[in-house]
Amino acid sequence: MKHSGGYSADTRIRWTEWLPWAIALAGFFLLPEYLSLGARILIYILYALSLDLILGYAGIITLGHSAFFGLGAYVAGILAARIGITDPMLQLVAAAAAGALLGIFTGAIILRTRGLTLLMLTLAITSVLLEIANKATALTGGADGLSGVVITPILGYFKFDLYGKTAFLWCLLVLFAVWWLVRRLIYSPFGASLTGVRENIVRMHAIGAPVYLRMVLVYTFSGTIAGIAGALNTQTNQFVGLNVLGFESAGELLVMLILGGVGRIYGAFAGPLVYLIAQDWLAKQFPEYWYLGIGAILVIVVMFARGGILGIADRLARLIGKSA
């Protein structure tokens, strides 16, 4: 599997790395009717990035990542609808802080375990949050969800309009900032050591690396990003419901990430893009076949195409390179 980073990596931004942003801006100007789908894609790219950090880079296998997304979503929603803090930047900061706190608190506790125990603990933590969201109806709206989410214009000027223009650009901006930070992290020595943890954890212990500490740190960072993604979700939909914490959407996120390719930043870009566009197009017509197809693709990717879309693109590129 190709991986970025390491001590001999070239860290300049390649021209291909500007493509996603070019595509996003093109979409903004050329496809104004699809901006809400566009914002959704951007949010899921952010969400997938956060999962890739721990899954693809540190090798922490979790089914409970929706805990962070959901927490961020509800924090933003509760601040807006119940407490009256409607400034979107404040909401983002609060959601990020909540994600960070949950990350460091749960990470410090559960990252001493591995395998099924770790998996189970991540599931249990998400279930706890889900139950709280379900029962604390005064705060969260329970099964009906939380509507009446009010958002005041960004910096007092950019209003969230009905066409979703502001929302799209807002998400794009946040994604860009986070992408830049994540990219720095991946190429740093810390990022290299994460890859080491994923590749051979025994060896990392044997070279004196503080493995546990590094895993807690990256888990916290990942939780922060996922919390931000959740808040963006609430802000763009002006609603938050129980599904942000559900297992089906956590499963879908995994599919998106695997589809794109785990362990490389742009897998988190490619996967949600392809998945959500295909879903928007196909799922409405044939909802059951869509679900069946997704399951089949997951099984096929695991069996035959472990690198996902980017892995296939790599192989194609190598083939073309050989014949050229």
Binding site: S8, T11, Y187, A192, S193, T195, V202, R203, A206, G208
Partner: protein, 250 residues
């Protein structure tokens, strides 16, 4: 003189099964010491206790005079204890350079940095390259470890340990599984190891042991049978019995 590495009364039992019984062992600075014994004698268990991978049942381990019995693996590594594994434990998908650099960066304290890219840490990279050069691996620096022949992978295993600048180095069967064509490389590498490092080597290959070691400890069923200079061990009848008697080992 303080020993580089010492154990006092080191014991380990799994329930009724005793795998290490009252081992008193001493490794001086600059030592070239071999640990031999029939299969199942407890040699790798002993090494795992020394590094902290396995907790002992009783007894003490001293590294440079300091009691490290309760310390975790990474703490012992920081105090100068390095090891290689019997089965290659490498980052197979990463380049040879990265394999070494990860360890060098840990030692230098740069490994946790998040802002500058790793490739900007020239000293780490240069030091890693220099180390690779001393082992004849400089040309392979950008190769993926898993694309290397097994003998070279074994050398990478040694290189990683050296990158930590250990004061004590535990080599667990460094020549194991290496085809004889490539094993000369390994032997040369062992000969060229810095003289101030105290080295304990576990081996079954007697040629290597007698070529390399200045002292030999024989471990049988978790106990030290005898310890001494190579000529003494070669002449010791008990050692002969252990290897050629009921065990039937050559």
């Amino acid at each position: 003189m303080i020993a580089a590495l010492e154990t006092r009364g080191l014991c380990k039992s799994f329930g009724a099964l005793t795998v290490a019984a009252d081992i008193n062992f001493r490794l001086d600075t600059g030592a070239r010491h071999a640990l031999i014994g029939p299969n199942g004698a407890g040699k790798t268990t002993f090494v795992n206790m020394l590094t902290g991978r396995l907790a002992s049942s009783s007894g003490r381990i001293l590294l440079g005079g300091e009691d490290v019995t309760a310390l975790a693996q990474s703490a012992r590594v920081k105090r100068g204890l390095g090891r290689t594994f019997q089965i290659n434990t490498l980052f197979r998908e990463l380049s040879v350079l990265d394999n070494i650099a990860l360890g060098v960066a840990e030692r230098r304290g740069d490994a946790g940095r998040v802002w500058r890219p790793a490739s900007a840490y020239a000293e780490t990279r240069d030091e890693s390259m220099a180390l690779l050069a001393t082992l004849g691996l400089a040309d392979d620096a950008t190769q993926r470890v898993r694309d290397l022949p097994y003998g070279k992978q074994r050398l990478v295993e040694i290189a990683i340990a050296l990158g930590l600048r250990p004061k004590v180095l535990l080599l667990d069967e460094p020549a194991a599984g290496v085809p004889s064509l490539e094993s000369e490389r390994i032997l040369e590498a062992l000969d060229q190891l810095p003289p101030e490092i105290a080295i304990l080597i576990i081996e079954h290959d007697m040629d290597l042991v007698f070529r390399f070691a200045r002292r030999i400890t024989v471990l049988v069923q978790g106990e030290v049978l005898v310890e001494g200079a190579p000529e003494e061990i070669a002449a010791d009848r008990r050692v002969h019995q252990v290897y050629l008697g009921e065990g039937g080992h050559g």
